[in-house]
């Protein structure tokens, strides 16, 4: 999955985002229908930006677009669970005097999910290293891979 994209699929498919840096991968999972969505979010908010951008680019628009697609695919809001992966701060030289963009992405996503009432059941965020994530729609499990570390499962 590319940057700023949103995908919805069903078991036995898997959804994969390679090399998340300060971007954040957000999954929504409906265990009853074995349906899930993955959004590869770049920036915290669509305010102050042009409306031409794809909805997946910003936390707020990405979450509403993904939720709408999940509902369209037959899921109910109540059955959804979210996981958040990414939001690293890879270049300390970039963020000496400010909150790193990766963390701002993570808090924006937490806020939107909170407003929607979707529980966050797993997260691996922040830190200084990039992540690859593999979302298995059979059971909603997310494999997270980092440089030179064994994979972790959320």
């Amino acid at each position: 999955m590319g940057i700023a994209e949103i995908a919805i699929s069903q078991s036995p498919q898997r959804l994969v985002a390679y090399g998340l840096g300060s971007c954040v991968g957000v999954t929504l999972y409906d265990g009853k229908n074995k349906t899930g969505g993955l959004a590869h979010v770049m920036l915290p908010t669509s305010r102050l930006h042009s409306t031409e951008a794809p909805p997946g680019k910003y936390a707020d628009t990405a979450m509403s677009a993904m939720l709408a697609e999940m509902l369209k695919a037959g899921s109910s809001l109540r059955g959804l669970q979210a996981k958040i992966i990414g939001g690293a701060n890879m270049f300390a030289s970039l963020t000496q005097n400010s909150v790193p963009i990766g963390l701002r992405n993570v808090s924006a996503i937490r806020q939107v999910l909170g407003e929607m009432g979707i529980p966050i059941v797993g997260e691996d965020v922040g830190g200084t290293h990039g992540r690859t994530m593999i979302f298995d729609l059979e059971d909603g499990r997310v494999e997270v891979r980092k440089l030179n570390l064994p994979p972790e499962y959320l």
């Binding site: 940057i3 090399g19 840096g21 680019k57 690293a88 030289s93 970039l94 992540r131």
Partner: protein, 212 residues
């Protein structure tokens, strides 16, 4: 994936390669002074790539790299990156500080500084060769180092530029010291507004206009 945008024509790519050669010559002089031995450098490839093709150029999205990042400001704004394949970084440290690093994923302070320094030298040399000829003013910021997957570095830089896709000018450089040979790739990713300015200045300097 990974298509090459036809922004430069062949004549302009030749000009870019020539600029690369000048930059590589200056970088080799600076690097030889730094290490106190002769190091030669030459340009092996010059390309213009869309960002979705950069990871493939570097060996894949999960290819482990050492990346030196520097912000670029002035008449052209953007980001420069220099990538080294991680499995050769230990040897590169050997070339630079006379002590090979055993674990490139956990470099010593000195190893990290050396990689940042060589990244700065390459960036400074290519940028000044490029912009002096075109009469553009620019400066670059402090170098930062990341050791990670190629795609995670690109992901972070695209967020910084707030673009989901960018065009990058790529100059691949070979380092030679005696029988040792290493490769580093320099990338310039101009912000979208700066890209137009860069091509305009380039076309003005080299006469022919591009296709884009």
């Amino acid at each position: 994936m990974g298509h090459e945008p036809e922004i430069f024509n062949d004549f302009q790519l030749d000009a870019l390669r020539e600029i690369g050669n000048i930059g590589a010559g200056n970088a080799a002089t600076a690097l030889s002074q730094m290490v106190g031995r002769r190091v030669d450098m030459s340009v092996t490839q010059v390309k213009v790539l869309q960002t979705d093709g950069i990871a493939a150029f570097l060996g894949g999205m999960e290819q482990n790299v050492a990346a030196v990042h520097m912000p670029v400001y002035g008449e052209i704004c953007g980001v420069s990156l220099v990538f080294f394949p991680l499995e050769r970084v230990g040897e590169l440290c050997g070339m630079l500080i006379g002590k090979k690093e055993e674990d490139p994923a956990n470099l010593s302070e000195m190893g990290q500084s050396a990689i940042k320094e060589v990244g700065s030298i390459l960036t400074g040399s290519y940028l000044s060769a490029l912009f002096r000829l075109m009469n553009l003013q620019l400066i670059h910021g402090v170098p930062g180092l990341a050791i990670d997957m190629a795609q995670a570095v690109l992901d972070t830089v695209l967020v910084e530029l707030e673009q989901k896709e960018e065009v990058a000018i790529v100059i691949e450089t070979k380092f030679l010291e005696n029988d040792k040979q290493l490769t580093g790739s320099f990338f310039l990713l101009p912000e979208s507004g700066s890209l137009k300015k860069l091509f305009a200045a380039f076309s003005k300097t080299f006469g022919f206009s591009g296709n884009g």
